[in-house]
């Protein structure tokens, strides 16, 4: 059973998700992980689907006039660090919009082996907001990393907070 990564992009309207997922169900594809959001009035959806159809056949079944659909065969990959080994943090950046905020901040994280596992950015008026889930290797000097982030934030005229994830485990 193959695994395919499917992306769907199109103008937001009621029924887009129903149409895509209906097509997937009709061809026996099973949706595993997926995420969907609206970006500038467009629906953006990414799905990991498994099934008997290869990605080429899947693409034919999903094609629609008002949607941009891609499908690629992929291999399931293990997370970059074993479960429980990484340290979870949440990064918040907010400040005036300008080019290069994401690249500057992500470069600091990448230099220490930090992995961004989820990210949302929003522009609201002049305010640019970035929220990222970050996983750090255990050996990272978090205090030094935070100093670097603070320096980058100052250079971007932005406020940066970097704090451990607070899981509500019950």
């Amino acid at each position: 059973m193959g695994l395919s990564a499917v992306t769907v992009l199109g103008v937001d309207r009621p029924g887009v998700i129903a149409a895509v997922t209906g097509s997937l169900a009709d061809c026996g594809a099973n949706i595993q992980d997926s995420t969907m959001t609206l970006l500038g009035g467009h629906v953006a959806m990414m799905l990991l689907v498994s099934g008997e159809l290869d990605s080429t056949e899947l693409l034919k079944r999903l094609s629609a006039s008002d949607l941009v659909v891609t499908a690629s065969a992929i291999e399931a990959r293990r997370h970059f660090c074993d479960e429980g080994d990484g340290l979870g943090y949440v990064l918040t950046v907010h400040g005036p919009d300008r080019p290069g905020i994401v690249s500057a901040v992500s470069a600091v994280l990448a230099a220490d082996g930090g992995n961004i596992t989820g990210m949302s950015t929003r522009l609201s008026g002049r305010l640019y907001v970035l929220i990222a889930d970050v996983e750090l290797p255990k050996e990272v000097d978090v205090a030094a990393l935070m100093r670097q982030l603070a320096a980058v934030g100052a250079s971007l005229d932005s406020e940066i907070t970097f704090r451990p994830v607070e899981p509500d485990l019950i």
Partner: protein, 284 residues
């Protein structure tokens, strides 16, 4: 000392927009943000030289008050046994004209001095929203005027349940709130301005979606205590006050306290998927 504890009084008002309570929070000024900085020179005071941490760090040259325990300079009695009185008709405590004795008031029309002047709500990004606000002397006339302005601004934003002084351009530790109208309020102190508030106790943490008058278009799921105790002082009389809040009022007060520390709710978002576009507003 006043001690404001929970009550469950008057029937809750319907939301002005008739929408889901989730869209009604301590936001609301979506069209009033992003303007020019507010001139705060009129409110500036001089720092104290005592160095005593128990002294107000800022002390303004104000006329001597006749009493610290009688009727407050705002003209309202400080006898307010918590939340046992009506939440609807009572004028806000400690928020009014200190008697027309300050130079700031002399510059105002009588109507303005009596009720405060609504001010522009600053929108992020703005420097004042990211700096730690300074403690002030709650008896200083400038502070009383600022409290009146803060309250007047809050009143001018019908879907806003709280504001902090930095949001109107004053880097002072003042907050105003009124959680009476929110359908998720369990109890409320009514309309109140608190000077130099500090969180003394917090418990029963929970997530809920909140927005901000200074951040148009965005909301986020934020974890906050649903039961808190806050100590502070009333403007004018300077009388100590203790607020025991729960549910939405507790969230609202913590949100305002964050403003005094230069924090936005964005700084408390628990993860990338907790940031949301605000798809509709109550004040539209």
């Amino acid at each position: 000392m006043l001690r404001l504890t929970g009550r469950r009084p008057t029937p809750r008002r319907a939301l002005p927009c008739g929408r889901d309570p989730a869209c009604f929070s301590f936001w609301g000024a979506s069209g009033a943000v992003g303007g020019s900085p507010v001139d705060s020179a009129r409110y500036r005071t001089s720092p104290t030289e005592s160095g005593n941490p128990h002294d107000p760090p800022f002390r303004a040259a104000c006329p001597p008050r006749s009493s610290t325990t009688g009727p407050s300079p705002c003209g309202h009695s400080v006898k307010r046994p918590g939340r046992q009185e009506s939440a609807g008709g009572e004028p806000p405590h400690g928020c009014r004209d200190p008697g027309g004795t300050s130079s700031a008031d002399a510059e105002r029309t009588p109507g303005e001095a009596a009720g405060g002047t609504p001010r522009e709500v600053l929108g992020a990004p703005h420097r004042l929203l990211s700096v730690v606000a300074e403690p002030v002397d709650p008896t200083a006339p400038e502070v009383v005027v600022a409290a009146a302005d803060l309250l007047a601004t809050l009143r001018s934003e019908p879907s806003t349940a709280g504001l902090a002084a930095p949001q109107i351009g004053l880097s002072w530790r003042l907050i105003a709130f009124d959680a009476r109208r929110h359908p998720r309020s369990r109890s409320w102190a009514g309309e109140l301005v608190v000077v130099n508030p500090r969180l003394a106790a917090a418990s029963h943490w929970d997530h809920a979606r909140e927005g901000c008058a200074s951040i148009a278009g965005l909301t986020a799921d934020v974890r906050r205590a649903t039961r808190i105790t806050v100590h502070g002082h009333l403007p004018g009389s300077g009388e100590p006050v203790t607020i025991e809040a729960d549910a939405f009022e507790a969230r609202c007060i913590q949100h305002q306290l964050d403003h005094l520390d230069g924090l936005l709710f964005l700084d408390r978002v628990p993860g990338a998927l907790s940031l949301h576009r605000r798809l509709h507003t109550c004040d539209a």
